[in-house]
Symmetry: C2
Subunit: 600 residues, 2 copies
């Protein structure tokens, strides 16, 4: 049977040929691990994903959560899937051995989790959110919070959510109105309404821990007045037993185009003036705490987008190989047998494009996951800080590029299946609907572009950008050893040179106070930057493929040839398309900025 | 209240400033008409669309047709909407006065129908299919068929369908297996299975007339052996009363991602060896008859894609004007009021892109509709033939370009609404799902590209292409009178020159027998050709806008400025992006063609 979640050969290529996962086992934290333990974890993940997640992916979509008597009701398949996920250790994959974890590198944890995202993005989301909340409490919570809330999460009894968005403010967090009033016992009383809270209610876990952004009475205006509160669905007694139901109530469910199995909720905090919350960390530091978790969340979104793209790619590839239809344009004898549609050049184009998008993004996602390990386990603080800067810079790309281009991949998968692809009798239309959320949540595309150009490229004097450029130049230099890669390397070098120039020019605008002008076309900047990064990752993969071919293992030759062809597609078909975007950026074209409301 | 279906001002601009609809009233066929009768028809269409079509658009989606006891069950709102549509004369808008029609130009009929497509694409589809069947019987049916089947269709009692696709053959019509055996009484017995038959069953009309492609026993292989049969759901007695139920049975319904209100059916013909069909026209000419109707059907698909784009554009525009969120990047004082999101440059970009796609495509769709009038009502046969050649050439563009780019417009509409846009509480996600069908039905994108490059550009010695090039050059020449348009005209001229050269080169390949090479990248050719055509239509609109501004009517100045800005966007942001595609075409790049099955 063909693989449906991801290509194991490609994953092995990424882990052991491109990203050198085995080198991580030299670090003290991962010293107990080796390639065998890594592969065992991956094998377990694949098994559970195939057996317990994939089978109810369509059912999740067809039977979305229902609002019944103030609670959300889910299909019964979600609970055993998440239980198996937890019992196999994936909820705590990266956590210390001594805290019940597998102490795996984040790289491996993401590689394992990718299987669940591909199999069933909606069910996997409950875990992803819960892992995020666990990390937040671990990093910033006090001992009582860790004891009462983190431990039950680690034990798989409590789940978690992030409650940021409010109806009137959307992405503009500085405008949130949720209030937190100090209470005599040191806790707070929370009052406000939040929307789009994924997993905001479900019948699976004993309790739900909401991480809520709210403002204290003395809060300064704007984002610097936001604090973080832990608001449980049920209060927890000192002995760990559940206390009374907190005044944090489910107001309703949103009905989404896709990703339907994950409840998207409106929550009312303090409708009865009795919503108990606990301050996490220091007052007014809530947003910075959230942002320290943002890399994780955004990489998670990017990986989700990639895996939806991956699932669609593999499905449409299998379909194209097995669906006979039509003949070659130069052999139209109607008496001859029909050929498989993979024989048609345009179908190959649609498959190769998917491969280039999906495997290019997959490489970047795992690269970022490994970088996250560097931020935690490199030897010196300086090294860790350097890694973190690079990760900060790449995060908007890891989040946004797959959200855009792996969605395009899903669009192509539908097209390959034709009329069938448009029906709910086949899975590709669901991937497309599911994936459409990714350019929106955890910061829209527009916000990612402002984050990249307005913040990330210039932070610390452009240190991270310089680091990235050096890495890309390094890859180009190594590519020079392979004359076959010249035609792939040169488009990247050309793009890179021009991107550097335009970056300096745009930063010049910003420093000169021409902020609106400098940021007006940041969407194009995001695209060009993203294509540069993915182009770099493809050149890196191409080098490894050449090295693989040189080893002369015949069984692997097709795999490496496919890598080279996909790299060629991306670097010669896609990368040069950015020069037109660069011309617009260079010209500070004001067509969009200058458009007036009244002219529409 | 804002307009929700389309901009009346823009429609008037198209009809009376760009396409000179009033000139049609000089033709004998339309001599009874004038601008008042045109506007009255449009006003009636808008009223019915707003009152009877739009209100159940979401309900159509939420309560898709059900298969109950061998029949399809629809929501009750569809029937009265279609009855009002018929009673107001829109089913027979272009038909002769003496046959109960309004004898309107096709241009006006399409302009009226656009309102129904925007309001409710699924309900409007039943009418569109029925109009197509009426035209097919009128053109190729015999007197008995016209009497028994066409007249009840005109009377609004019977509906029609097109039954082409078969499960094993898909787009490859030469491989259909449905058989037609001659019967002693001159009729035929049909046997075969068809899928994706839109409107293949519904409880609204007294009878359904299926136009079925099938093969006679002596049929030559391939498409030259396909004949066309009229297969009624109920046989019709000589006195016009309904006879027995024909052996043409509903096998099941497809469940689509969108466009759910239109039944998509599997039909079994002759399961009980008793399916009566009637040959339409001559044996073995079925496909050519269908193809003579194809322009209409494909323009209809294009217009549907445009109107879905239009509806999403208007909704997101209204939302962006009324949704306060965030502040300008250069004025981030959190104590200041939030601005409407239309103030953000990137939101303006997404609105302007939508406007450029939707209004550019709308202009082309109506241009094609007017060309259709020319094919029917120009004075000499030579003139009509010339018009038909141009229409044949443009048809793959009218069908495919809006299917791709107005779908992108819908994607942007969702993005503007953010998290809300992803929920079914707002209409934009449905437009996106509905529109995803358009690149598939009535010939996929891939088929359109082969039709364009493999057939249309070279037909009759390239006569149609020469005609089009002359028209575009003519527009460019007229644009020279407006110095303000220089920056818009030049990118089009540059693209046009290069497109001509590459066309000759690719046709050279085809003539030299290098068919696979010549057609390998036809998807890119389709894109470049489409952008050239839409670029031309935008330059034409820009000239009219300049003329409008020169008339100095202050009330219209904003409208014309908007046209100029959208033209500027399309011609300077979009058109030059094609040079990279042209470079790939010029190089006969074989990256996709050369990809091997085993390498994936």
């Amino acid at each position: 049977m063909s693989e449906t979640l991801l290509s194991s050969r490609n994953l092995a290529f990424e882990l052991y040929e491109v990203l050198d996962a085995e080198a991580l086992t030299q670090r003290e934290r991962f010293a107990e691990h080796n390639r065998e333990t890594f592969d065992a974890a991956i094998g377990t993940a694949r098994g559970i994903a195939e057996e317990l997640f994939a089978p109810h992916n369509r059912k999740n979509d067809e039977h979305e959560p229902q609002y019944v008597d103030g609670a959300a009701v889910l299909i019964p398949e979600v609970e055993p899937a998440l239980r198996a996920f937890h019992e196999a250790g994936f909820l705590n994959a990266t956590r210390d051995f001594e805290h019940g974890g597998m102490q795996l590198p984040n790289l491996l944890s993401q590689a394992c989790f990718a299987h669940f995202q591909s199999a069933n993005i909606a069910t996997s989301s409950y875990s992803m959110l819960t892992m995020g909340v666990a990390n937040l409490i671990e990093a910033f919570g006090n001992d009582e919070q860790k004891h009462k809330y983190l431990q039950p999460i680690i034990d798989g009894r409590f789940f978690g959510t992030m409650a940021l968005t409010e109806p009137h403010a959307g992405s503009s967090l500085s405008d949130i109105r949720t209030k937190a009033e100090p209470h005599a016992d040191g806790s707070y009383r929370i009052k406000g309404n939040k929307i789009f809270i994924s997993g905001g209610d479900q019948p699976i876990s004993e309790n739900i821990v909401h991480m809520v952004l709210a403002k204290l009475p003395d809060a300064p205006p704007g984002v610097k007045g936001i604090s973080l509160f832990l608001v449980p669905k049920f209060l927890v007694n000192d002995d760990g037993s559940l206390g009374k139901r907190n005044d944090a109530l489910l107001a309703g469910l949103f009905h989404k185009m896709g990703w339907r199995g994950t409840t998207s909720t409106a929550l009312n905090f303090g409708d009865n003036d009795d919503c108990v919350g606990y301050l996490v960390g220091k007052p007014h530091h809530g947003l910075s705490y959230m942002f320290q978790m943002m890399n994780e969340a955004r990489i998670g979104v990017g990986m989700g987008a990639i895996m939806l793209g991956y699932a669609g790619y593999l499905y449409s590839l299998d379909y194209a190989r097995n669906r006979p239809q039509g003949r070659h344009p130069d052999g139209k004898d109607p008496a001859s047998q029909q050929v498989s549609i993979i024989e048609h050049a345009d179908v190959r184009r649609m498959l190769l494009t998917q491969k280039a998008y999906v495997e290019g993004a997959f490489d970047l996602g795992l690269y970022a996951a490994r970088l996250f390990d560097d931020t935690q386990t490199l030897e010196t603080e300086e090294q860790r800080k350097t890694a973190l800067e690079l990760l900060d810079l790449l995060t908007p790309i890891v989040k946004s590029w797959p959200s855009e281009f792996c969605l395009k991949a899903n669009e192509l998968a539908i097209q390959i299946l034709g009329g069938h692809g448009y029906t709910r009798e086949y899975p590709v239309e669901q991937y497309y609907r599911d994936n459409r959320l990714n350019p929106i949540h955890e910061g829209t595309h527009g916000i990612q572009s402002l984050d990249l150009l307005g913040r990330k490229v210039s932070m610390n004097g452009g240190a991270a950008l310089k680091q990235l450029l050096k890495l890309i130049h390094g890859t180009c230099q190594r590519a020079e050893a392979h004359p076959t890669l010249t035609a792939l390397r040169q488009p990247l070098e050309q793009l890179l040179a021009r991107l550097q120039t335009v970056t300096l020019a745009l930063l010049g605008d910003l420093m000169a106070g021409k902020v609106n002008q400098g940021l007006a076309n940041s969407a194009l900047y995001l695209k060009v930057f993203g294509h540069t990064v993915i182009g770099w990752r493809w050149l890196e993969q191409a080098i490894r493929a050449e090295e693989g071919l040189a080893r002369g293992n015949a069984a692997d030759a097709d795999f490496y040839q496919g890598k080279l062809q996909a790299a060629r597609y991306f670097l010669t078909w896609e990368v040069p398309s950015c020069h037109h975007d660069l011309a617009i950026l260079e010209a500070r074209d004001d067509t969009c900025l200058g458009m007036q409301d009244a002219w529409f």
